[in-house]
Each structure stands twice: as C-alpha cells, then as structure tokens.
Amino acid sequence: MTTTETVKDTAGDVFQPRLVAFVCNWCTYAGADLTGTSRLAYAPHVRVLKLPCTGRIDPLFVLKAFEGGADGVLISGCHPGDCHYSSGNYHARRRWAVFRRLLSLTGIDERRLQFSWVSAAEGQKFADLVNRITDEVRAAGPFDPSNPARRLPWK
C-alpha cells in the first residue's frame, strides 16, 4: 500500500477512508462472514450493511451514505444466476449501470462507487476487494466536504 504513506488528510495524518458496503444477505454477507471466520486480515475501513438483496438497494441509500460522509461506497451481491430471489441482482445491475454514470456526471469520482459479485464461498475475494477499494479510495483522497453531495457540518 504505497498510497498509505503519501495521502494525508486535512489534519496531516494518514488518510483513513470511510467505506460503506451495502451487501446482500445471501451471498456477499456470507462471503464477508467467511473472510472473518477464515481469519483473513483486511483493511479495517469498511462498514458492512446487510440488506436482503442487491435489488433492495435504492440509489437513495448511496446518496445518503455520501451525504453522511462516506468516502466510498461498495455494492455487492450474488453472481448472476445465484440470486436468492432469482432476479434481484439482474434488476440491480440495470439500475447501477445508469446510476453510476449519473453520479459520475454530477461530480462523484468513479472510484468512490464500486460494484462486485461476491459469493458465500469467496471469502478471499472479499478481503482482496476491500483492500483494493480502500487503496483506490485512498488515492482519490478525502471526499471534498464542499461537494454538493455532502452535508455541510454545522458551523
């Protein structure tokens, strides 16, 4: 992690990004659980939020996360064909294909919004993924508080 040394936050300390992961109950959450039970160490910056399905993840959740100070958001669910509800991840895939471009157009760095399929057996993939995304968001730097997507702190 070469970026760890170079990117500093406003206080001059090493920048520790805040990541929010919206994951589905059946695949990625189980995969993330496997990462833990397998004792795989990974970057500790991610807050995992479990939802029934990627199809349940409303774009408003992402906006709310950015508004509340997330530096990056990960959305992860079952591989195509594996959805517990048979089609939730297909619906999600369509929604995100459009929404991520809209957010990019309005000034949110594409590195800050990431998507993946992680199955219940892919504990190692989840660890690697979080490490990589942490690096990428760290390289993108702290999410500018003056970005219109952010809630400004009380003065």
Binding site: R94, W96, A97, V98, T106, D144, P148
Partner: protein, 270 residues
Amino acid sequence: MEIATKLRADAAALLGDGRVKLVIGYAARGARRVPVFISEAPKVEVLMWDATCRQNLAAYLSKPDLKTLRPVAIVASPPVMRSLVVLASEAQIEDGSVVILGLDESGYHGILDLGKTVELLNAVCKGQGLDREILGRLEQIRGMSPQERAAFWASEFAKCTRCYACRAACPACYCARCIVEKNVPQWISTAAAAHGNFAWNIIRAFHVAGRCTSCGACQAACPQGIPLMLLNVGVTESVETEFGIRAGFDPDAKPAIGSYSLEDKEDFIR
C-alpha cells in the same frame, strides 16, 4: 391558420356529441402560450397551435382534478405524443380514454387513437437522435475532472429553491406521493442546503430514467434556469447505449429500469 381551423372544428365536434368531456389545448395570451381546458363546444375558438407551444400538456392527464374527466381530448405535437405513449405503457391511460388531436409543423393530423399515434411517431420521429447541442455540452462536462464537475453542479444546484416546478411540468412525474414528500424516514432533506438539492435533482433525473422523452418541459418550467436537460439527456443516453431502449415509441414496452436482460453488460462489476 389552417391548423387552428381544423383543430377547432374537431374539438367542437368531440365536445358536441359527448365523445369527450374535456379538451386540453393551447391558447395565445399576448406573446405567451398558455394551456386551456375546454368543456363546452362554443368555447373552442381560443384553441390555437404554433411551434412556440412547448409546454407538455400530457402532464395534466395525471393531475387528480383531471383524472376523473375522461374521456379527454388532448392537443399533441410529437413530444406530447411520446409522453402519452409512455403513460400508456405504464397503464396510466385506459384504452380509448384519451383522444389525441395530433399536429406538428407539417400540419394537422386529425383525431388519432393511440395506435395511429404510435404509427405516426415511428414514421416521423424514430430516427431523430438526442439534442446535439446538449450532447456537446455533456461531452464537455464529462471531459472535466470530478472536482470541476462537482463545482459546476454545486453552482447550478445552489440556485434550486425546491419549488418542484420541474416535477409539476413533467408527464412522467405522476406519483401520488413523491419520494420527496415521504418523511419517515426523510430520505431527501428539505433543508435549504446543498445536499438536499443534490439528492432531489439526482433522484428526479433517475426516477425518469428510461421514461424521459426529452421534451424539455422541466427545464422550461425551472424558474432558476438550472440545466436539467443535461441530467435527463445524460441519463437517456446511458439507457440508449446500455440497453438500446428509447422511451415513447412502444405502448407495450417494459420499463427500462424495472425489467432486465440476462445479456446486460456488467463491465463495471468486479
């Protein structure tokens, strides 16, 4: 005034024999063009149409006060027709409850049902692409750094007073309870602050993804001059390139967001 004469005659006939309860059309008030709602045949004389009639009258069809006044006749140029097709595909128009008085710059097309409107649209407008000037500006914005884009939109969204004129003018925004009025939980802040404006404008644009026909009514209605069409055309362009879907040409179309294909691209998913 060839168009107006034929239009008035048809409107009077429809109202006269009770085929419709109401005619929604345009009238001139000085240099301005305003919507009119006519329920008696003798009053059709105010009806007119020219290329400056840009307001999308299809937005009125879903207003609670007018929903009960069907069958209704509506003066419709191609952008309005496309909105009507979207409404039909979303089961907002019952069969035969909306009579279309079709017209465009080439002339008056007479009393049309939905089927004939779709034929006309596919013949006349299917080949038309998105607005080139807007696409050019989009390319410019996409060429900026994320910080520059954020600064551009920060200054635009800062003007927003959350009057929701964009929503009121849009035929696709017909939810009886809009997300922005739901406050348990409050997803979109109503505070006069940047983050609420951002969330509102993004969600408005996303909720009409694959349904927007680029008629421009929202931007024309915005009292603050926010370039909403940049967002709408940006989204519409994504929907076209990702899924090959153009809204407003097929009354049997499935919603672009809300349906899926096993072949959808997923190059952005790890």
